[in-house]
Symmetry: C2
């Protein structure tokens, strides 16, 4: 499987992002809209957010959206990481995560934070981050809604 990575955002990416996010059947309508919106904002205002796209035969099959956290020096946040449902488990997510870490180091970043939900639905997601060397740094009770905490994972990339 010949996956290529691309960091330059294209006009077609907001649609591609919404398609693969919908395809996972994992995200709510509001989440899908927000994910697309970050690409729209970045097309209007370059470097607002950073992106890496994974492509197979010229089609987007996964992506990450990340950026330096405002008013910090070297702390990055990974906002979205999505892989097309039929290709999950093939290492594309780990490839995207490794690419982000390399890029963060190149930008003199020190650490990456990833927030995710405490819900059972996200057990696989949390295991994916832990497997990649991220550890649970804090947990904010009832953050998303009552009974659904925010789990903040962190990895030092220096």
């Amino acid at each position: 499987m010949n996956i290529t990575l691309r960091t330059i955002l294209k006009d077609s990416d907001p649609v591609a992002i919404r398609e693969i996010a919908s395809d996972t059947a994992f995200f709510s309508e509001a989440e899908i809209a927000t994910a697309g919106e970050l690409a729209v904002e970045t097309l209007a205002k370059p470097d607002e957010y950073l992106f890496i796209f994974a492509e197979l035969d010229g089609r987007v099959v996964g992506y990450v959206c990340y950026g330096e956290i405002p008013l910090t020096s070297g702390s990055y946040d990974l906002y979205w990481i999505v892989v097309k449902l039929s290709l999950q488990g093939a290492g594309i997510g780990q490839m995207l995560l490794a690419a982000v870490e390399q890029e963060v180091r190149a930008r003199n970043g020190r650490q990456i934070f990833i927030s995710t939900s405490s819900r059972e639905q996200y057990a696989h997601t949390r295991a994916f981050y832990e497997h990649a060397g991220y550890s649970l740094n804090a947990q904010l009770t009832d953050f998303y809604t009552i009974g659904e905490d925010e789990c903040i994972y962190r990895k030092n990339v220096l």
Copy 2:
């Protein structure tokens, strides 16, 4: 002292915000620019962020900027709270904080998060939040820079 509160943003507010933030001698240039930018963005796109201004004789002497955290249901973040240096300690900060809590409740919000720095410079700020009923919920090591953690305070407003 007759302080009035105003929630409708005016064209003159970005300048007023930068003036009182500079006046405190507390914020960096980058922080002052960011604080003003949130008002500029909200003038262009209403409800992007929420504001409450404290005015004395028609002049802005303090303000708060807050909003519902995207993709949460009822969790709010207090982004900025600033009171003009010469009027600090007169209860304007507590008045603004109480007004935010009332407004968050009116919007069916459940809780308010406030992030601040672990630096000694912010000891007074942390005491101010603790006095107002906020408790330290999590602390992210080296978040802002090496040796400067993010302290995440939380208050249930229900």
